[in-house]
């Protein structure tokens, strides 16, 4: 049984069909990329799996349990961590406190009225920050971090819930090219070590072909191709979807205009 199982997921906004009969599975420890041209419905599919958007039809199951109608906070408890396209962090708190906040919630202490929050689960928070390479920045205000580092904080926050599944919506958007590879290498390493399944959307084809075990291609709300990076690169339907934008599918490291 796969970790994440999506069956017949559909959503339309007025007359626009944003997702139609989307079905796929994702295993533990697997890095699965969801790609497609702008407006293909990637974020719609993503938000239906994350719980931000209710689907019109279809089911989402995690470890065999139906989670289609659960709100995001319940999905977190079931083991789904996520990062956002525009990084979302608690900017009034320090870096460590961001992670501590997630740990406090994970341990069900968010309504505790006594005992300072800033000392709770600090060691665990520091070791999570260590894993994403932000140990030195632990006591800096989150608002003072560079954007790429906020993305790392998000990753540490998502990991604080001990997730089985990590959802990353355009994890490298807004980052410098060298930072992108570093963040995805880190994600792949964590996924492999902790047997976490990772579903991510991405526009940067270097990131996709360099890090995804498997790639799903979404066009106008439908999955038109699925396979390994090499198979996808050669798939004529995918080439057609990207309509002459051949460079987008060039081999990683290849010449770019």
């Amino acid at each position: 049984m796969s970790l994440l199982d999506v069956q017949g997921l559909g959503k339309s906004f007025g007359g626009v069909v944003a997702a139609r009969n989307v079905r796929f599975g994702l295993d533990r420890g697997e890095m699965l990329a969801l790609i497609g041209p702008n407006g293909a419905g990637k974020s719609t599919v993503f938000n239906m799996i994350g719980g931000q958007l209710p689907p019109d039809g279809g089911t989402v199951s995690l470890d065999g349990a139906d989670i289609t109608r659960l709100p995001p906070r319940e999905r977190f408890r079931r083991g789904i961590g996520r990062t956002f396209q525009v990084a979302q962090a608690f900017l009034s708190m320090s870096v460590a406190e961001n992670v501590q906040m997630a740990l406090i919630s994970h341990h069900g202490e968010s309504r505790a009225l006594w005992g300072p929050a800033r000392t709770r689960h600090r060691d665990e928070a520091l070791s999570l920050l260590e894993r994403v390479g932000l140990a030195e920045a632990a006591d800096r205000p989150c608002a003072a971090l560079a954007y790429g580092d906020v993305k790392r904080v998000e990753l540490a926050v998502a990991l604080a819930g001990a997730p089985k599944l990590l959802l990353m919506d355009e994890p490298t958007a807004g980052m410098a090219p060298r930072e992108r590879a570093a963040l995805m290498d880190l994600t792949a390493e964590i996924a492999a070590r902790d047997r976490i399944g990772v579903l991510f959307t991405e526009h940067d084809m270097d990131v996709v072909f360099g890090h995804a075990d498997r790639v799903l291609v979404l066009v106008r709300g439908e999955i038109v191709a699925e396979g390994t990076a090499d198979a996808i690169r050669e798939n004529p339907r995918v080439r057609e979807a990207y309509l002459g934008d051949a460079h987008a599918l060039a081999a990683p490291g290849g010449a770019r205009p």
Binding site: Q52, R73, F76, R82, F90, M101, E109, G115, R118, V157
Partner: protein
């Protein structure tokens, strides 16, 4: 039931719906374009009524007839429209980008200024305007007499709706207003002269407020309480109809007019209760009102407390302050002790609001509701059950906590501006209940004879009781702000999406915050009641809510100790300055506006900022 009674009741419902729509339509148009909820809209309505009641009789003296009468009404509306332009140019234009709390406070500053200016210009007494020429005789409807002027009002609502519709659909100005209501940024990107558009919209909005007020001249005497009572009703209309939607305002005004007309059969004491129930029901089903769009208005850039490294000086400083405060009776006379008690009470009151605003980012504009519930709960326990202070204080606290839990259950579904307006409306409803339910609450006179138990009746002892309770509650709240619960509230304020994604139940936390803040405010209300020996409806009024907000603003919204300092400073200033001047509200209003414009960090915030810049 007699059908003729029902018909007349329905007609008078339509008449008040029309008046309400004309005024609320201006508020919703201004909001749609500028994204500012103009608190001073009710003041513009009041100016319209006073101007009409003064101007129209002069015109009628000069030449009696319908033409001078209606010309006078229109002229009053135009005058108010011009005042609207003045407000836009001098104030609003400087705060379009400010957090919504500051916008609301600044426009409330205008409310205070206008209150004193109206008394100065028109005198303190109510002014009853003339009846409309040609419409003095009542008409007969199903054998009952019905004022013919009301029929004109019934027609006026749809006429204004039609004219506004034509203006919005058929003119370039209207196209721009509609475009700005949908996407303000896009309109400015297209090179539209924003300043002119906003000024024009303010003229239109103020004109409608003035018209709404002037049309009341033959019905009710212009009085100084009109501004706040009409603004609360307008808030209900715009929230139920959907912010920025003119047809929504019309529909909501119709429903509310009828509810008020027939609600009198269900709750003879307070028709506003029915209106509130309607609003609660609508918002549960449609959180953005009849025709509002699901969008977050405000709340986007909440200002509030940020993490700071704990200082080692905090504990010794707190202990030293407590010792000083406990030693105060050794040097203070009875008067100073009375002032000190009030400062302690209002300090905790403002601090309990800080839990909602500074920590939770929930801009509550009706915190007086919980202060008043605590005070009335204690006073009612004394009056009706003969309870001693030791029992009455906790009863007041419980009543306030229950009220906060009930109101909170509705308002936590909302955010930003909607939350501010709904909390304000809830407090106004309670105010109306206290005011109108004379048999139980004593109405305007309130309840007297609320004195402490004999052992605490002596001023010094009562001061110490107050000190122990308020300081204890304040320290407990500080712990809560530092505890995971306080951090969770801050997390939701910083990013709802992130908070939800780490498993936090946003509504449940915010509801608990409301209940806690309400309980603390209820304690202060009870203490205040016993310190004065009486309660009255002003404790529940908008000015009491704004007092707390002003203390927050003065002390600094981004600080933990700010509200306590703000309460002390504001109360001391009031104590010194109020006896010297007839224009206290004018001064206070100008001070609030000045603080928003040039001193938004507050006292404690500014000191902190200096120290951080130096470090």
């Amino acid at each position: 039931m007699d059908p003729s009674f029902l018909a007349v009741q329905a007609l008078s419902g339509f008449a008040s719906a029309s008046s309400l729509f004309i005024t609320a339509c201006g508020l919703t148009l201004v909001f749609g374009v500028t994204r500012i909820v103009n608190f001073a809209h009710g003041s513009l309505y009041m100016i319209g009524a006073y101007t009409g009641a003064t101007l129209v009789p002069r015109l009628l003296e000069w030449s009696y007839g319908p033409v001078p009468f209606w010309a006078g009404i229109l002229a009053s509306a135009v005058i108010v429209g011009l005042i609207g332009i003045l407000i836009e140019v001098l104030l609003l234009r400087r705060i379009y980008g400010a957090p919504e709390l500051f916008q609301l406070l600044a426009t409330f500053g205008v409310v205070l200024v206008v209150q004193d200016l109206v008394v100065h210009v028109f005198g303190p007494q109510d002014i009853l305007g003339p009846r409309a020429p040609g419409l003095r005789a009542p008409v007969e409807i199903l054998g009952r007499r019905f004022p013919s002027y009301e029929l004109v009002l019934i027609a006026a609502g749809p006429v204004v709706l039609g004219l506004v519709w034509l203006l919005l659909r058929k003119t370039r100005f209207g196209v721009l207003v509609r475009a700005a209501t949908q996407d303000r940024e896009m309109v400015s990107a297209l090179g539209v002269n924003q300043a002119l558009l906003f000024t024009g919209t303010l003229f239109l909005g103020a004109f409608l407020a003035g018209l709404g007020g002037a049309l009341q001249v033959p019905r009710v005497a212009a009085n100084t309480g009109m501004d706040l009572s009409v603004i609360a009703e307008c808030f209900v209309v715009t929230v139920v109809g959907g912010m920025g939607s003119v047809p929504g305002a019309f529909l909501a005004a119709l429903v509310i007019g009828q509810l008020q007309a027939f609600g009198i059969l269900i709750f003879p004491k307070s028709t506003l209760v029915v209106v509130f129930l309607l609003m609660a029901a609508v918002l549960v089903v449609r959180p953005y009102g009849f025709f509002g769009r699901p969008e977050i208005i405000g709340g986007g850039h909440a200002v509030g407390i940020v993490s700071r490294a704990p200082s080692r000086a905090t504990l010794p400083l707190t202990v030293a302050l407590m010792i000083l405060l406990a030693a105060l009776p050794l040097v203070a006379d009875a008067y100073l002790l009375k002032v000190a008690i009030e400062i302690l009470v209002f300090g905790l009151f403002a601090f309990s609001l800080q839990l909602l605003i500074g920590v939770g980012g929930l801009v509550s504009f009706g915190h007086a509701a919980f202060f008043g519930l605590g005070a009335y709960g204690a006073a009612l326990a004394v009056k009706w059950f003969g309870a001693p202070m030791e029992a009455a204080l906790p009863l007041g606290l419980v009543l306030a906590a229950l009220g906060a839990a009930l109101i909170g259950a509705f308002v936590v579904r909302l955010s930003g501006i909607y939350l501010a307006m709904l909390t304000l409306a809830a407090a106004q409803i309670l105010y109306a209940v206290a005011f109108q339910w004379v048999d139980v609450t004593g109405g305007d006179n309130g309840i007297v004879g609320v004195w402490p138990s004999p052992w605490a009746n002596e001023r010094t002892v009562y001061y110490l009781v107050t000190l122990v309770l308020t300081a204890g509650a304040a320290l407990a709240l500080m712990r809560i702000i530092d505890a995971p619960f306080g951090y969770s509230l801050r997390a939701m304020r910083d990013s709802e999406a992130r908070a939800e994604a780490i498993g936090l139940h946003i509504r449940r936390h915010r509801w608990l915050a409301f209940t806690l803040a309400g309980a603390a405010a209820g304690l202060t209300g009870g203490l205040y009641a016993f310190s004065r020996g009486s309660v009255d409806p002003t404790l529940l009024g908008i000015p009491t809510s704004v007092d707390a907000l002003t203390m927050l603003l003065l002390g600094g919204i981004q600080t933990i100790t700010g509200p306590l300092v703000g309460a002390g400073v504001l109360h001391a200033l009031r104590d010194q300055i109020m006896p010297l001047t007839d224009y206290w509200r004018l001064l206070l209003g100008l001070a609030i506006i000045a603080m928003v414009l040039i001193f938004p960090r507050g006292l404690v915030g500014t000191v902190q900022h200096w120290r951080e810049v130096r470090a």
